[in-house]
Symmetry: C2
Subunit: 463 residues, 2 copies
């Protein structure tokens, strides 16, 4: 631990107007990674970050990839044995269509008071992820201005392709593993539990994606002529898909639950204090009754339980009106969310074996894999997690909670597999930030207390 | 019965070259009803037929509809108490795309010898339905030329919208029911069993079409965030559809089989003599194992048993690649082929009640009806059917067979409901005529013996 952090926190407070100016500068750069028209803007954002980082005393550079460039920066710690953290964020943003739904131009950031005492920063990327990554840079700035040193050795990695599937990330990690290797990674691309409760995401479900295509006859058939005698691939497919769950909502694949552990009682108890209910969680999307495994809370279902989900299905005539056709083919996209130590390869094989067993001998089935990654889990009792939890709890009105995440953040798995390091997922977004949608915003409170949170976390990690 | 028909048959034989010329004239008219560019050609075909019919002594006229015109013609019978038949055919044809797959221009008919002794008439509409309707006109011509009279009183109805769903037919029948009413209808738009065996289609399955739309959440969801807790409408839909059949292939809807009678043993025995097998029937489409109800022949399954068939299904992401979405909606088009006295309204209601019982309380289901018509059946022991059967058996190498038809021919139901008359379905097409496809043809034998067949049938009906 360095000296008292109070002056650092005060400096962050005093810096806030200038911190916002810098964030606004970054937001004004139209770094939409999916649209080739904005290629130069993506590079401009990377260069802007390099300039900022170099000014902060980092050794920073733009690093080429086949796509948009990476930014890599290094800074020593205050002591030789200070912990080494790798901070990750992304400077690219989502497209802005439909433009007519924005209340103000997406790349002209502004502060708005949306209700008495509640101010937000509006603009594309303010929450995802420019505002978030800038909380870390401004925390670093306050440290440097007060102590001319940093409590941890810091490596920074910013990518510019997160919104387009990160095609260059794995090769880049592989090629630069030695340079990027740290004690652990800090990933700032997630949300708080609510506006008063910070959150650390400790579990990320894995994912197996699989496309299944059933072929019956060698052409589309007239259902009058052949109906009743010819196999209908939609029937075969719906039979397979309907059989994936039993009456209690459990997935029926053989050995599917191998490696799935029950959530510890104290974690479940902590989740219960969050006040989440099926009515609240599902009410926001017009539903009320939990689907899936019976007798489990919605938090457990989405954070700690595996699923089998049909994400798309098509077959036969789907246009206006009606055609009495028996299709030659029908297909579906199926995904499995994984938890614990479920093995993606075994789950995929179990699905294929099950599906094959349901296909008549004169029909055929094809499978197309669409990605597979195991669940990732920071142990609930990890020191890293507990340290961050206490630091966050000091900053915010309510104690930090350790939550699960139903989705997958591939970078976390990549860091684990390719650099051999665990990630701490801390972010200050709120669920209503409208990331990926018109009128994206970031709470001014998120930005301000986010900066202060990183000051506390860096301090605690150095202890 | 009029005098001996031998001279009439001989006259038909002698007329054949001129009969073909007349058919060629009609085929050259590009009466594609679905394409507005061919509107004038459709009228030209109607006018051509009126001219021919008037020349044959009919009182014929073009009759306007909101779409393409009808042709109606009347001719008295040889005696006052001669039976009155209504002959139906259609002068419109299918589009010709893809044109590059035709061996010759589709509207330039020609005679080709495709194997030694086997000649065909090539061109769009030669089989469907210009060649077929001309068999009847040429039969009439031979009678007129020999006897200057017809054995039956004949009303003719040709429509020009059969290939585009016959939108004007019902209103026309309704408005002209008194004029079109006859003792029975002769419909010439079907096929033979094989090139040696004429067929009378005695049973037509009915049809209930139904679209089902399941709605769960009020928007598409991310399967990471909500998966495991939020209802997935594709799961609900596949569960409903998979439950439509039991393990024996029977449809599970309540009271579904009410009104379904077992096919009489002697009819089944007659079908058995046709030599149809699952391997042959399904082999033509790359399949081999009968689907549907276990323990029944493919002829029984397609001619005499009801079905539930999913004709189309869609939901979620169906494009390239993968999206981990939980859809807000999923929908399917479902049809039921009906036999015997199954009631379309009751079947529809049974499906809806069953589906509703499977939809969770916080999700919703909508239904959109797409037509419903009961099965139609000429009693296997009807005198009309037996008369025609004997007349056909006299003409062809093998005795005529009474077959079922898996599909629906709406006109037959319309005649029954709106004119109160039964239809006799006799046609001389073959299953390889490629109707609706490039290189449509009609066997020269079908045309020639088709003319002779109608001479015999008219004679037998008059007896």
């Amino acid at each position: 631990m360095m000296a008292d952090i109070t002056p650092v926190l005060e400096r962050a407070d005093a810096n806030l107007p200038n911190s916002l100016d810098r964030l606004f500068d970054l937001v004004r750069i139209k770094s939409i990674s999916t649209d080739p028209a904005f290629k130069a803007e993506c590079r401009k954002a990377a260069e802007w970050l390099v300039t900022e980082l170099n000014a902060l005393g980092f050794t920073a550079s733009v690093r080429e990839t086949p796509g948009h460039p990476m930014v890599v920066a290094h800074h020593v710690g205050a002591t030789a044995n200070a912990p080494h953290v790798l901070f990750y964020g992304h400077y690219d943003v989502q497209p802005v269509d439909p433009l007519n739904l924005w209340d103000a131009p997406p790349f002209e950031p502004a502060i708005k008071e949306i209700e008495p005492g509640r101010k937000v920063i509006s603009g594309r990327g303010t929450s995802d992820d420019k505002g978030q990554l800038m909380t870390f840079l401004e925390a670093v700035r306050a440290y440097k201005e007060i102590h001319d040193a940093l409590p941890c050795r810091i490596t920074i990695l910013f990518e510019g392709e997160e919104e387009s599937g990160s095609p260059s990330l794995k090769p880049f990690l592989q090629a630069n593993a030695a340079e990027l290797k740290a004690d652990y990674a800090l990933v700032c691309d997630t949300s708080m539990w609510d506006s008063e409760t910070p959150a650390i995401s400790a579990g990320l479900r894995g994912l197996v994606g699989e496309e299944i295509v059933i072929t019956a006859a060698d052409r589309d058939l007239h259902s009058g002529y052949f109906g009743g005698a010819a196999a209908n691939p939609i029937h075969i497919l719906t039979d397979i898909l309907a059989g994936l769950h039993d009456d209690t909502g459990r997935v029926t694949l053989e050995n599917f639950y191998d490696g799935v552990e029950e959530t510890p009682a104290q974690i479940k108890a902590a989740w219960d204090t969050l006040g989440q209910t099926a009515e609240k969680f599902l009410g926001q999307i017009g539903l009320s009754i939990p689907s899936g495994e019976k007798g489990r809370s919605v938090l457990e279902l989405t954070w700690a339980r595996p699923t089998a989900e049909v994400n798309g299905i098509t077959g036969g005539y789907t246009g206006e009106g009606f055609k009495t056709v028996i299709a030659a083919q029908a297909s579906a996209k199926v995904s499995f969310r994984l938890v614990g130590h479920q093995d993606p390869a075994k789950i995929r094989e179990a699905f294929r074996a099950y599906a094959r067993s349901k296909v008549p001998a004169d029909c055929s089935v094809e499978f197309h894999p669409h990605g597979g990654s195991p669940a990732i889990h920071l142990p609930y009792d990890s020191p890293l997690l507990n340290t961050a939890k206490m630091a966050l709890s000091d900053e915010w009105p309510k104690p930090a909670v350790v939550i699960g995440m139903g989705g997958s953040i591939p970078i976390v798995g990549d860091f684990q597999r390719m650099l051999g390091i665990e990630s701490l997922l801390v972010g200050f977004g709120l669920s209503d930030d409208r990331i990926h949608s018109p009128n994206e915003k970031y709470e001014l409170m998120s930005f301000h207390k986010g900066i202060r949170s990183w000051i506390r976390i860096l301090d605690a990690l150095a202890a």
